[in-house]
């Protein structure tokens, strides 16, 4: 009977956060530290003709300026990562612009001064001569031969194009009763973490050691980026409290870490850089705008025989994340459906906009949007209920574990059960009757029901599926570690391999370790900063990829189990009994029933570090254990085979979502009256934490569907550079999310746990689109594009086509 796993447990992060004692990168001060500002491009597309910092440097408090020449001379371009591997020819991408700027806000240089105000003033004194070029912000325009070209090396803005086919797609379309087609669009948005990018770099020139403190999600990206760009051997990456990640702080931030490190190396002083909100909105990375041409081959009874789609990704002005939104669709390519034939064709198009970055689920919300919009469309064309069409195609619980057409293995799940649970809980039939009555009164009320999987635990080799020419994967599967130590006083200290960005890693891992070790979570402390010198970490040490539940929990459980064995061995020796007779309860090892034969963790701690004569000869002293975890069921298809079958992720959570909305005809505003999720996150370790992840991710997906988004003028100027422009939802606009758990524990993971981070952000945009379309049924309106801002909805209601020339 589990004592802590699955129970409420007091938050370990809470006390420091509610008292303002969290420590984020901006909270650290180093002696002699300078403050940096980034010089950014005001042009969407221009050649850098010359740059002259001499005026700025006349102020003695301005210590160092770096220019494109410094970047070119003192740094090396990043090696193309797994998302740039598809480039037809390699293109050097440096940390800053070196010859050309390709989006507004692109870093051109940087200043370090004795205080931030002086650095900000200095930016205005650097004179940069640009030769403006024609810019392009629209994907379809960008691939025309007449378009301005961002990368001369490519000669085209179509930076990558490729396809994957699974099953007999052509046969499926030939044998179909009907082919259902739709063009769909998702816009640019992001999760806009409240803590902006933040970096401190300190370089010890005598020992050639660079230390950075950075708000980042994936240590590997920072560590490798610094070593590649600066050619250093000795790099230490420290990640303190992170004020929200969501994918924003994985990739693009490495550029700034390199630029700030270069300032630290040139000035010989520690340098801090804190990004402004407007800098983040224009240049901190956006989720990719995706356009789809989707077709479903269906039978008259609603069976979907095949799905094929073309995807046009607006990847912005960088080549380093070209394919990320496309390849992430391999993670949930089948969603919850049995459809045996699926093909996908991707076009990665560079434009003069902010580069795209990973964002909560990356391409997965887009994949779910395609599936769920198509399911509604199939139902409409066949005059069937949208619920029945979904039911008809769901993977059944008795088919688990289920191998999908692209090589994923779904570990567990009861999708019909989730859907049924949702319909019962929301009282679907009654809701439809109410809708009918209210519709007669003229109210536009809509109900949307969708379902989606939430993959967890990334396979690092996934992207090889689209790069058949790639011989060696950049990594494969996932590896992450944890270290646990019993201290001299009987408490425990835990080191995780990956940073915490607010998902309660300290609380959750303490519950797991306490369960294994027979102690209580309040006696376990987890070290907060990730430190590449100390933390046991591997390729899965990433606050991304929905990795935590698979890899970190696996590692912590493994380390605690290993430590338990050592504790029992030492105790058996001390108590002179067989270790098999021992039990651990409340931090005391004892022979059950005996009041004499027992020894406390504190006594064991003193022995293990101080008393050699009490330690068995065949035992290593100390009570510490490290464990590196890999998913033991990662094969087959850990590396893509000849058919391109690959395990993209390893665990599969799922959720059925229902949205009930009402549309105000006069304003076009969509109000969410009710939002319910029946979810399967496997074994829930801490219900409050998992609920928090579901609430937060659902809220983001809903807000994205209803209007959050980045807008550009036709010449590439970003028009949404504050939270208000962007349309961030507050407590006033956010609906109350309801969550019901219906877990199907994974048979393959340590405790049956599955992922819970990206979760509800994946199906929620589709749920809102479905509900809004349902509300507008009397008007015959179809929803194909996001976002559904009041303006967009008002135009749909009033049959008033888009006149604006703005571009998402």
């Amino acid at each position: 009977m589990a004592k802590f796993v699955g129970s409420r447990s007091r938050s370990k992060e809470g006390p420091r956060h509610v008292t303002g004692r969290g420590l984020y990168t901006d909270d650290f001060m180093l002696p002699g530290m300078l403050q940096a500002m980034i010089l950014r491009s005001p042009h969407a597309h221009a050649k850098i003709v010359s740059i002259d910092p001499s005026e700025a440097l006349k102020n003695p408090n301005v210590i160092t300026v770096i220019t494109p020449d410094d970047v070119k001379q003192s740094t090396r371009p990043f090696r193309p990562g797994r998302y740039a591997a598809g480039l037809k020819r390699p293109i050097d991408e440096y940390a800053g612009a070196v010859d050309k700027v390709r989006y507004v806000g692109e870093p051109v240089g940087a200043v370090a001064a004795r205080d931030r105000g002086t650095a900000e003033d200095a930016l205005e004194l650097i004179s940069v001569e640009y030769e403006p070029l024609r810019s392009v912000v629209d994907v379809r325009e960008a691939i025309k031969p007449s378009s301005a070209v961002l990368f001369d090396e490519l000669g085209t803005n179509l930076a990558w194009h490729g396809a994957l086919k699974y099953g007999e797609i052509d046969g499926a379309f030939k044998s179909a009763d009907r082919i259902v087609k739709e063009n769909l669009k998702i816009h640019r948005y992001s999760s806009t973490p409240l803590e902006p990018f933040a970096v401190i770099a300190s370089y010890d020139a005598a020992s050639k050691r660079l230390t950075v403190w950075v708000t980042a999600q994936v240590p590997e990206v920072i560590y490798d980026g610094l070593r590649e760009a600066l050619g250093l051997q000795d790099v230490r990456v420290i990640i303190p409290d992170v004020g929200g990640g969501f994918g924003q702080k994985i990739h693009l931030i490495r550029k700034y870490v390199v630029l700030i490190s270069l300032l630290a190396m040139k000035s010989g002083r520690p340098v801090k850089w804190i990004e402004d909100r407007s800098e983040h909105m224009m240049a901190g990375g956006h989720a990719c705008a995706q356009e789809f041409e989707a077709e479903a081959a269906v039978k008259n009874d609603g069976t979907v025989l095949g799905l094929r789609f073309k995807e046009y990704d607006d990847v912005g002005g960088s080549i380093s994340t070209l394919t990320i939104h496309f390849t992430n669709k391999l993670n949930n390519l089948s969603n919850t459906y049995r459809t045996p034939n699926i093909s996908m064709e991707g076009f990665a198009v560079v434009t003069n906009k902010c580069p795209v970055i990973p964002n909560r689920g990356i391409g997965k919300p887009g994949m779910c949007f395609v599936w769920e919009r198509m399911m509604d469309r199939v139902a409409q064309e066949l005059n069937l209920s949208p619920i029945e069409v979904r039911r008809k195609n769901l993977i059944q619980p008795n088919e688990m574990p289920y191998s999908t057409v692209s090589g994923n293995v779904y570990d567990s799940g009861d999708y019909p059960g989730l859907l049924q649970g949702l319909l019962e809980k929301i009282d679907y039939d009654k809701l439809r009757e109410e809708q009918k009555r209210e519709r007669e009164k003229g109210r536009l009320i809509g109900i949307g029901v969708v379902i989606g999987v939430e993959p967890g635990g990334r396979n690092a080799a996934r992207d090889m599926a689209i790069f058949p020419e790639m011989k060696e994967p950049p990594g494969s599967g996932g590896i992450n570690g944890a270290t646990i130590k019993l201290e001299k006083n009987g408490t425990l200290a835990l080191h995780l391999g990956s940073p915490n960005c607010g998902q309660a890693h300290e609380t959750t891992t303490a519950q797991v370790a306490a369960e294994v070790l027979g102690t209580t979570p309040d006696r376990i402390s987890t070290s907060i900063p990730f430190d590449s010198d100390l933390s046991p970490w591997g390729v899965a040490a990433a606050n991304s990829g929905n990795n935590f539940h698979l890899y970190d929990i696996g590692a912590v459980h493994g380390a605690a189990t290993r430590l338990r064995e050592k504790i029992l061995k030492l105790s058996a020796h001390v108590l002179n009994v067989d270790s098999k007779e021992l039990a651990i309860e409340d931090s005391t090892v004892k022979v059950p029933g005996s009041t004499v034969k027992q020894v406390s963790f504190a006594e064991l701690g003193r022995i293990a570090y101080n008393n050699q004569h009490l330690i068995p000869d065949d035992m290593e002293p100390g009570l510490q254990a490290t464990y590196y975890y890999t998913f033991p069921h990662a094969k087959p298809n850990i590396v893509p085979n000849a058919e391109r079958l690959v395990r993209a992720q390893f665990t599969f959570s799922a959720g059925a979502h229902a949205a009930v909305v009402e549309i105000d005809k006069a304003t076009g505003k969509v109000e969410v009256l009710r939002y319910l999720i029946v979810g399967d996150n496997g074994t829930v370790i801490n219900p409050d934490v998992v609920n928090g992840q579901v609430y937060g991710s659902a809220t983001h997906g809903i807000a994205v569907a209803l209007g959050e988004g980045f807008i550009y003028s036709p010449d590439g100027q970003p028009l949404t550079v504050t939270y208000l422009d962007y349309g961030k939802c507050s407590t006033a606009e956010t609906p109350k999310i309801e969550v019901v758990h219906r877990p199907s524990p994974s048979p393959f993971t340590t405790l049956g746990q599955k992922a819970a981070g990206e979760g509800a952000a994946i199906p929620s945009p589709a749920a809102i689109a479905s509900a809004v379309e349902d509300a507008l049924t009397p008007l015959g309106v179809k929803i194909t594009d996001l976002p559904l801002t009041p303006e967009v909805v008002w135009r749909l209601v009033n049959n008033n086509p888009e006149s604006s020339r703005r571009s998402y």
Partner: protein, 157 residues
Amino acid sequence: MKQTINVTINGRLYREDVEPRLLLSHFLRENIGLTGTHVGCVVGECGACTILLDGKLVKSCLHFAVQADGREVTTVEGLAKDGELSVVQEAFVKHYAFQCGYCTPGMIMASYALLRDHPNPSEGEIRKALSGNLCMCTGYVQIVEAVKDAAQGLKNG
């Protein structure tokens, strides 16, 4: 040209020389070392830097430090006494009304001021009162629950 200001912060008087353009948020963080006041936007939209100025709820990034001269400031560090959490803080911990913690100090200050002035808020009033504080992580559900619970706790003394 620096100016000398006298500001009482969490009950203690500070005398500091500051540049007129220094924001109150940055003064609290950098001059006084009270880093619980977070900065998320510097234009008054996110609420992470919310404090009490002479008892009134304000966004400290919208004030200059010199405007606090002769006045009283309460920051999130001023709420707990000797490690004992205030009722609002305890409710936030209990309900997991935070994730990354970055918006939390501002949320706590806004909740504290709400309950001080309106001890029995409805859910709608809570949502309205907190609408100047953005959170990117939680979806606000547990924050609203925490404030409701804190209201109950304050009533029960």
